[in-house]
Protein backbone atom coordinates (compact mmCIF):
# COMPACT_ATOMS: atom_id res chain seq x y z
CA UNK A 1 0.00 0.00 0.00
CA UNK A 2 1.59 3.25 -1.11
CA UNK A 3 0.89 6.88 -0.58
CA UNK A 4 -1.10 7.83 -3.64
CA UNK A 5 0.25 11.34 -4.20
CA UNK A 6 3.65 12.57 -5.35
CA UNK A 7 3.84 15.52 -3.00
CA UNK A 8 1.96 17.51 -0.39
CA UNK A 9 0.76 20.00 -2.98
CA UNK A 10 -0.73 17.28 -5.21
CA UNK A 11 -2.28 15.76 -2.08
CA UNK A 12 -3.98 19.05 -1.26
CA UNK A 13 -4.96 19.56 -4.89
CA UNK A 14 -6.66 16.13 -5.09
CA UNK A 15 -6.47 16.11 -8.89
CA UNK A 16 -8.41 19.35 -9.13
CA UNK A 17 -11.06 18.28 -6.59
CA UNK A 18 -9.26 19.65 -3.56
CA UNK A 19 -11.86 22.26 -2.67
CA UNK A 20 -14.65 19.68 -2.64
CA UNK A 21 -12.81 17.05 -0.64
CA UNK A 22 -11.23 19.32 1.96
CA UNK A 23 -14.35 21.38 2.55
CA UNK A 24 -16.17 18.15 3.45
CA UNK A 25 -13.49 16.97 5.87
CA UNK A 26 -13.16 20.40 7.44
CA UNK A 27 -16.91 20.69 7.87
CA UNK A 28 -16.94 17.28 9.53
CA UNK A 29 -14.21 18.25 11.99
CA UNK A 30 -16.06 21.45 12.91
CA UNK A 31 -19.40 19.66 13.28
CA UNK A 32 -17.94 16.91 15.45
CA UNK A 33 -16.06 19.43 17.60
CA UNK A 34 -19.24 21.40 18.26
CA UNK A 35 -21.11 18.22 19.16
CA UNK A 36 -18.32 17.18 21.48
CA UNK A 37 -18.01 20.48 23.31
CA UNK A 38 -21.65 21.46 23.85
CA UNK A 39 -22.40 19.10 26.80
CA UNK A 40 -19.26 20.26 28.58
CA UNK A 41 -20.35 23.89 28.29
CA UNK A 42 -23.78 22.94 29.55
CA UNK A 43 -22.33 21.17 32.58
CA UNK A 44 -20.13 24.15 33.38
CA UNK A 45 -23.14 26.47 33.22
CA UNK A 46 -25.08 24.16 35.53
CA UNK A 47 -22.20 24.03 38.00
CA UNK A 48 -21.98 27.82 38.10
CA UNK A 49 -25.73 28.01 38.67
CA UNK A 50 -25.57 25.54 41.54
CA UNK A 51 -22.65 27.41 43.08
CA UNK A 52 -24.70 30.61 42.97
CA UNK A 53 -27.61 28.87 44.65
CA UNK A 54 -25.33 27.47 47.32
CA UNK A 55 -23.98 30.92 48.09
CA UNK A 56 -27.51 32.31 48.31
CA UNK A 57 -28.50 29.53 50.71
CA UNK A 58 -25.49 30.22 52.86
CA UNK A 59 -26.33 33.90 52.98
CA UNK A 60 -23.22 35.03 51.16
CA UNK A 61 -23.23 38.05 48.86
CA UNK A 62 -23.96 37.13 45.28
CA UNK A 63 -23.32 39.05 42.07
CA UNK A 64 -26.29 39.37 39.70
CA UNK A 65 -26.41 36.54 37.17
CA UNK A 66 -24.97 37.18 33.70
CA UNK A 67 -27.78 38.29 31.44
CA UNK A 68 -28.52 36.15 28.42
CA UNK A 69 -29.76 38.32 25.54
Amino acid sequence: MNFQFESLSTFIDMGGHGAYVWSCYLLTVVALLLLMLYPRARKRQLTLQLQRQQRIEQGQPVAPPPSVN
Binding site: M1, L34, Q51
Partner: protein, 247 residues
Protein backbone atom coordinates in the same frame (compact mmCIF):
# COMPACT_ATOMS: atom_id res chain seq x y z
CA UNK B 1 -38.13 -13.41 35.88
CA UNK B 2 -35.93 -10.94 37.64
CA UNK B 3 -36.75 -7.50 36.19
CA UNK B 4 -34.60 -5.72 38.71
CA UNK B 5 -31.86 -4.96 36.20
CA UNK B 6 -34.40 -3.45 33.84
CA UNK B 7 -35.84 -1.15 36.45
CA UNK B 8 -32.39 -0.20 37.61
CA UNK B 9 -31.73 0.79 34.00
CA UNK B 10 -34.28 3.51 34.51
CA UNK B 11 -32.32 5.18 37.27
CA UNK B 12 -30.51 8.24 35.93
CA UNK B 13 -27.98 8.09 38.74
CA UNK B 14 -27.15 4.44 38.10
CA UNK B 15 -26.74 5.24 34.39
CA UNK B 16 -24.49 8.22 35.11
CA UNK B 17 -22.22 6.36 37.51
CA UNK B 18 -22.08 3.23 35.36
CA UNK B 19 -21.05 5.08 32.19
CA UNK B 20 -18.40 7.32 33.74
CA UNK B 21 -15.49 4.85 33.30
CA UNK B 22 -16.53 4.05 29.72
CA UNK B 23 -16.16 7.58 28.42
CA UNK B 24 -12.39 7.92 27.92
CA UNK B 25 -12.17 4.53 26.19
CA UNK B 26 -14.99 5.27 23.79
CA UNK B 27 -13.52 8.66 22.93
CA UNK B 28 -10.00 7.36 22.28
CA UNK B 29 -11.29 4.40 20.28
CA UNK B 30 -13.67 6.55 18.23
CA UNK B 31 -11.10 9.21 17.39
CA UNK B 32 -8.49 6.52 16.73
CA UNK B 33 -10.67 4.70 14.20
CA UNK B 34 -11.56 7.99 12.52
CA UNK B 35 -7.93 9.06 12.29
CA UNK B 36 -6.82 5.73 10.79
CA UNK B 37 -9.76 5.56 8.40
CA UNK B 38 -9.43 9.16 7.23
CA UNK B 39 -5.68 9.01 6.66
CA UNK B 40 -6.02 5.70 4.85
CA UNK B 41 -8.93 6.88 2.76
CA UNK B 42 -7.45 10.25 1.90
CA UNK B 43 -3.90 9.22 1.20
CA UNK B 44 -3.57 5.50 0.61
CA UNK B 45 -6.59 4.19 -1.29
CA UNK B 46 -6.30 4.41 -5.04
CA UNK B 47 -8.01 7.02 -7.14
CA UNK B 48 -11.34 6.12 -8.71
CA UNK B 49 -11.21 5.51 -12.48
CA UNK B 50 -14.34 7.56 -13.19
CA UNK B 51 -14.51 10.10 -10.36
CA UNK B 52 -10.86 10.74 -9.64
CA UNK B 53 -10.17 11.88 -6.10
CA UNK B 54 -13.56 13.42 -5.34
CA UNK B 55 -14.87 9.98 -4.39
CA UNK B 56 -12.87 10.27 -1.14
CA UNK B 57 -15.86 12.18 0.23
CA UNK B 58 -17.44 8.74 0.58
CA UNK B 59 -15.44 8.22 3.77
CA UNK B 60 -17.50 10.94 5.45
CA UNK B 61 -20.75 10.79 3.51
CA UNK B 62 -21.58 7.09 3.94
CA UNK B 63 -20.80 6.78 7.67
CA UNK B 64 -22.70 9.99 8.42
CA UNK B 65 -25.71 8.71 6.48
CA UNK B 66 -25.62 5.31 8.22
CA UNK B 67 -25.50 6.97 11.62
CA UNK B 68 -28.30 9.40 10.83
CA UNK B 69 -30.57 6.41 10.07
CA UNK B 70 -29.38 4.24 12.94
CA UNK B 71 -29.60 7.21 15.27
CA UNK B 72 -33.20 7.80 14.26
CA UNK B 73 -34.13 4.18 15.02
CA UNK B 74 -32.45 4.46 18.38
CA UNK B 75 -34.23 7.73 19.12
CA UNK B 76 -37.64 6.31 18.17
CA UNK B 77 -37.08 3.16 20.24
CA UNK B 78 -35.97 5.25 23.21
CA UNK B 79 -39.14 7.30 22.81
CA UNK B 80 -41.27 4.16 22.70
CA UNK B 81 -39.60 2.69 25.78
CA UNK B 82 -40.13 5.98 27.59
CA UNK B 83 -43.80 6.06 26.64
CA UNK B 84 -44.53 2.42 27.46
CA UNK B 85 -42.53 2.04 30.66
CA UNK B 86 -42.59 5.71 31.68
CA UNK B 87 -38.82 5.60 32.05
CA UNK B 88 -37.47 9.12 32.30
CA UNK B 89 -33.94 8.05 31.41
CA UNK B 90 -35.24 6.74 28.10
CA UNK B 91 -36.76 10.14 27.37
CA UNK B 92 -33.41 11.76 28.14
CA UNK B 93 -31.68 9.45 25.67
CA UNK B 94 -34.28 10.30 23.05
CA UNK B 95 -33.84 14.01 23.60
CA UNK B 96 -30.06 13.68 23.32
CA UNK B 97 -30.18 11.63 20.15
CA UNK B 98 -32.09 14.33 18.26
CA UNK B 99 -29.44 17.06 17.84
CA UNK B 100 -26.67 14.54 17.18
CA UNK B 101 -28.77 12.86 14.51
CA UNK B 102 -29.76 16.20 13.00
CA UNK B 103 -26.13 17.27 12.64
CA UNK B 104 -25.18 13.93 11.05
CA UNK B 105 -28.11 14.10 8.63
CA UNK B 106 -27.16 17.64 7.63
CA UNK B 107 -23.54 16.55 7.24
CA UNK B 108 -24.63 13.69 5.01
CA UNK B 109 -26.75 16.00 2.85
CA UNK B 110 -24.09 18.70 2.58
CA UNK B 111 -21.21 16.34 1.80
CA UNK B 112 -23.50 14.63 -0.69
CA UNK B 113 -24.22 17.96 -2.38
CA UNK B 114 -20.52 18.84 -2.48
CA UNK B 115 -19.76 15.42 -3.93
CA UNK B 116 -22.57 15.78 -6.44
CA UNK B 117 -21.23 18.95 -7.99
CA UNK B 118 -18.17 17.46 -9.72
CA UNK B 119 -19.80 14.04 -10.18
CA UNK B 120 -23.32 14.83 -11.41
CA UNK B 121 -22.81 18.47 -12.32
CA UNK B 122 -25.36 19.69 -9.79
CA UNK B 123 -25.50 20.63 -6.10
CA UNK B 124 -29.03 19.35 -5.66
CA UNK B 125 -31.62 17.15 -7.31
CA UNK B 126 -35.05 16.13 -5.99
CA UNK B 127 -34.17 12.46 -6.17
CA UNK B 128 -36.01 9.92 -3.96
CA UNK B 129 -33.22 9.21 -1.51
CA UNK B 130 -32.02 12.80 -1.18
CA UNK B 131 -35.55 14.12 -0.69
CA UNK B 132 -36.40 11.51 1.92
CA UNK B 133 -33.15 12.30 3.76
CA UNK B 134 -34.15 15.96 3.77
CA UNK B 135 -37.49 14.91 5.31
CA UNK B 136 -35.51 13.00 7.92
CA UNK B 137 -33.65 16.20 8.78
CA UNK B 138 -36.98 18.02 9.18
CA UNK B 139 -38.22 15.24 11.47
CA UNK B 140 -35.15 15.59 13.66
CA UNK B 141 -35.59 19.36 13.78
CA UNK B 142 -39.28 18.91 14.59
CA UNK B 143 -38.43 16.69 17.54
CA UNK B 144 -35.90 19.23 18.81
CA UNK B 145 -38.50 21.98 18.44
CA UNK B 146 -41.15 19.99 20.31
CA UNK B 147 -38.74 19.37 23.17
CA UNK B 148 -38.30 23.09 23.61
CA UNK B 149 -41.92 24.06 23.06
CA UNK B 150 -43.43 22.84 26.32
CA UNK B 151 -42.83 24.01 29.86
CA UNK B 152 -44.10 20.69 31.16
CA UNK B 153 -41.37 18.09 30.65
CA UNK B 154 -43.87 15.24 30.61
CA UNK B 155 -45.84 16.67 27.70
CA UNK B 156 -42.63 17.50 25.82
CA UNK B 157 -41.48 13.90 26.26
CA UNK B 158 -44.75 12.46 24.99
CA UNK B 159 -45.14 14.81 22.01
CA UNK B 160 -41.62 14.33 20.70
CA UNK B 161 -41.74 10.56 21.24
CA UNK B 162 -44.94 10.35 19.20
CA UNK B 163 -43.42 12.41 16.39
CA UNK B 164 -40.32 10.20 16.42
CA UNK B 165 -42.46 7.07 16.17
CA UNK B 166 -44.68 8.41 13.41
CA UNK B 167 -41.60 9.45 11.43
CA UNK B 168 -40.12 5.95 11.60
CA UNK B 169 -41.94 5.06 8.40
CA UNK B 170 -39.42 7.29 6.60
CA UNK B 171 -36.51 4.99 7.41
CA UNK B 172 -37.42 2.03 5.20
CA UNK B 173 -38.42 4.53 2.51
CA UNK B 174 -34.95 6.07 2.57
CA UNK B 175 -33.30 2.69 2.63
CA UNK B 176 -35.28 1.19 -0.25
CA UNK B 177 -35.73 4.36 -2.28
CA UNK B 178 -32.85 3.50 -4.57
CA UNK B 179 -34.45 0.12 -5.32
CA UNK B 180 -38.08 1.18 -5.64
CA UNK B 181 -37.65 4.26 -7.81
CA UNK B 182 -35.41 5.24 -10.68
CA UNK B 183 -33.04 7.54 -8.86
CA UNK B 184 -29.91 9.49 -9.58
CA UNK B 185 -28.41 8.34 -6.29
CA UNK B 186 -26.76 4.96 -6.77
CA UNK B 187 -27.93 1.71 -5.15
CA UNK B 188 -26.26 0.12 -2.14
CA UNK B 189 -22.53 -0.56 -2.45
CA UNK B 190 -21.94 -2.44 0.76
CA UNK B 191 -24.12 -5.50 0.97
CA UNK B 192 -24.61 -7.94 3.81
CA UNK B 193 -25.68 -10.70 1.41
CA UNK B 194 -23.60 -11.15 -1.71
CA UNK B 195 -20.47 -9.40 -2.93
CA UNK B 196 -20.09 -5.66 -2.49
CA UNK B 197 -19.59 -3.52 -5.57
CA UNK B 198 -16.61 -1.68 -4.15
CA UNK B 199 -12.95 -2.61 -4.38
CA UNK B 200 -11.42 -3.90 -1.10
CA UNK B 201 -8.71 -1.23 -1.21
CA UNK B 202 -11.49 1.32 -0.90
CA UNK B 203 -13.80 -0.76 1.28
CA UNK B 204 -11.44 -1.26 4.24
CA UNK B 205 -10.99 2.41 5.12
CA UNK B 206 -14.74 2.88 4.63
CA UNK B 207 -15.52 0.14 7.13
CA UNK B 208 -13.02 1.63 9.58
CA UNK B 209 -14.67 5.03 9.21
CA UNK B 210 -18.10 3.46 9.79
CA UNK B 211 -16.84 1.79 12.97
CA UNK B 212 -15.23 5.07 14.03
CA UNK B 213 -18.43 7.02 13.48
CA UNK B 214 -20.49 4.45 15.40
CA UNK B 215 -18.04 4.52 18.30
CA UNK B 216 -17.89 8.31 18.41
CA UNK B 217 -21.69 8.46 18.13
CA UNK B 218 -21.95 6.23 21.19
CA UNK B 219 -19.61 8.53 23.08
CA UNK B 220 -21.57 11.59 21.94
CA UNK B 221 -24.93 10.09 22.89
CA UNK B 222 -23.66 9.14 26.34
CA UNK B 223 -22.00 12.55 26.76
CA UNK B 224 -25.18 14.44 25.86
CA UNK B 225 -27.41 12.14 27.93
CA UNK B 226 -25.14 12.51 30.96
CA UNK B 227 -25.38 16.30 30.66
CA UNK B 228 -29.17 15.96 30.41
CA UNK B 229 -29.22 13.74 33.50
CA UNK B 230 -27.26 16.31 35.52
CA UNK B 231 -29.58 19.07 34.38
CA UNK B 232 -32.85 17.29 35.08
CA UNK B 233 -31.65 15.85 38.38
CA UNK B 234 -29.96 19.04 39.61
CA UNK B 235 -32.15 19.17 42.71
CA UNK B 236 -30.94 15.80 43.95
CA UNK B 237 -28.29 15.34 46.59
CA UNK B 238 -25.99 13.23 44.43
CA UNK B 239 -25.83 15.78 41.59
CA UNK B 240 -25.18 18.67 43.94
CA UNK B 241 -22.46 16.69 45.70
CA UNK B 242 -20.90 15.75 42.37
CA UNK B 243 -20.84 19.25 40.89
CA UNK B 244 -20.11 21.22 44.06
CA UNK B 245 -17.40 19.01 45.49
CA UNK B 246 -14.70 20.82 43.57
CA UNK B 247 -15.59 24.20 45.01
Amino acid sequence: MNWQWFHRLGSPRWFYEKTTPWMPWLLVAGLGFLAVGAIWGLGFSPMDSKQGNSYRIIYIHVPAAFLSLAGYYLMAIAGAVGLIWRMKLSHMVMKSAAPIGAVLTALSLITGAIWGKPTWGTWWVWDARITSMLILLFLYLGIIALQGAYQNQDIANKASAILALVGTINIPIIYKSVDWWFTLHQPATLKLTGPSSIDPSMAYPLIIMIIGFYTLYTWLLLHWTRAEVLDREQRTQWVRALLLKAS
